[in-house]
């Protein structure tokens, strides 16, 4: 994904895409996902890691609710990464990530991830550019470790919204009583750094693409959910799993 320019990529579904059909299709995808997740758990030969990144209000929580809620929670885990604690901060930046990496049989969803350590920290100049490069190398090595040494399939999604859509959603948080709990004054300050964040994301897509990124047009929730659910389904289908037979004992 060399020299990608997020500005040139649409944040909306393709024009001829049918919303109602897509919603129906999603329901059938989720049913299949449910079955395959059960098989993944029973077989316990592969791990799945889904990484969700995106600006504030890009709809990460919505993906968790709409795509992952339908699966058996025994085999699905969600971890939201916040500002590091003092203990986490006294370790290398991948320590807290590795601790919650998925064991075999599990689908693990990261709501934000180790990429924050080359995004928010970089935009606010808490780390220098040399450290950014070193961290990106370490991230590539780490993702390779999970893939090669624990049969982990990693899916990385960037929820791509327009700055206008973001402003609208942030405003909505102020006025919608069911969304006010999400309101954070600081989000408007962060939004002003939009171009810096886009540049930092573009670098992630270029330098940390050994495990490829998917840029998901995310202004419309129904389209975003469909793209992610379908990608997950295809990944699980490719694993060619089988229910284990009776153990001899």
């Amino acid at each position: 994904m060399a020299n990608i320019k997020l500005k040139e990529i649409s944040t909306r579904a393709p024009k001829d895409w049918n919303k109602e059909e897509t919603k129906e299709n999603l329901a059938s995808i989720l049913a299949k996902l449910n079955e395959l997740q059960n098989l993944l758990y029973a077989e316990s030969q592969h791990a799945i890691l889904v990484i969700l990144q995106g600006m504030d209000a890009s709809g990460k929580d919505g993906v968790v609710r709409k795509v992952f809620t339908s699966m058996n929670p025994q085999g699905v885990r969600v971890h939201s990464f916040k500002v590091p604690t003092a203990e986490e901060f006294s370790h290398d930046f991948l320590w807290r990530i590795h601790g919650v990496a998925p064991p075999k049989g599990i689908i693990q969803l990261f709501n934000r991830s180790h990429y924050e350590d080359v995004l928010v920290t970089r935009v606010h100049k808490l780390i220098d550019e040399k450290t950014v490069k070193k961290r990106m190398k370490a991230i590539n090595d780490f993702e390779q470790l999970l893939q090669e040494h624990n049969n982990t399939r990693i899916l990385k999604f960037y929820l791509h919204i327009s700055p206008e859509e973001q402003q609208e959603r942030l405003q909505e948080r102020i006025h919608d009583p069911t969304k006010q709990w999400k309101y954070n004054e600081r989000d408007f300050e962060e939004a002003k750094l939009w171009d810096d964040y886009m540049a930092a994301y573009e670098d992630c897509f270029e330098y940390c693409n050994d495990v490829p990124w998917t840029i998901v047009p995310a202004d419309q929730n129904w389209y975003k959910e469909h793209v992610i659910a379908e990608a997950l389904l295809k990944t699980l289908q490719k694993l060619d799993m089988q229910y284990p037979g009776l153990k001899k004992g």
Copy 2:
């Protein structure tokens, strides 16, 4: 450390080395270590990881007792790696290692380590040679992560004993009532695989030497303890640490 042959390296102290002087010297090294460990803890800018590897009865527990017991246990941690549990086994091989990597301010001792995953597993052909190479690459990446992203200094020691010395010590475990708890019938079986283990270690020294190994002649405990304590002291002295001043509040 290309093409090292363990057979060609002495397992004993240099001939003119004075035992009594060395023991006195060790006491003074341990006193200095105690001070510097306190400073490391107070400053909390660096982490220290000491990796101990060696055949059964090579004296790893003795190093823990003689070199590390004199330091403040608040800042010194020891982790002995055993056969992986079912939970550990459902993750990549470095997951359990990363979990106990040292935070800043701490000296962490690994009694055995991630190297077992390219030693015992390799000798018993539980993994193929392609996996060995991949794991060695992952180990190098991982050690680099700890070094570059958490200011960790890593010291790797191989306790080098002769097969004759090993047999003597294993026999002693049968006859000495204070050592019988360490006796394990299986150790004699493992000892028969001596040459395979040496070849596997030699490959570690060659392919995982970005963080360099120290081969410690270990037939005599007094010499072994001195080598390790001195190496640790030099590492701490080089950090050029300072007690933090009063925090402004």
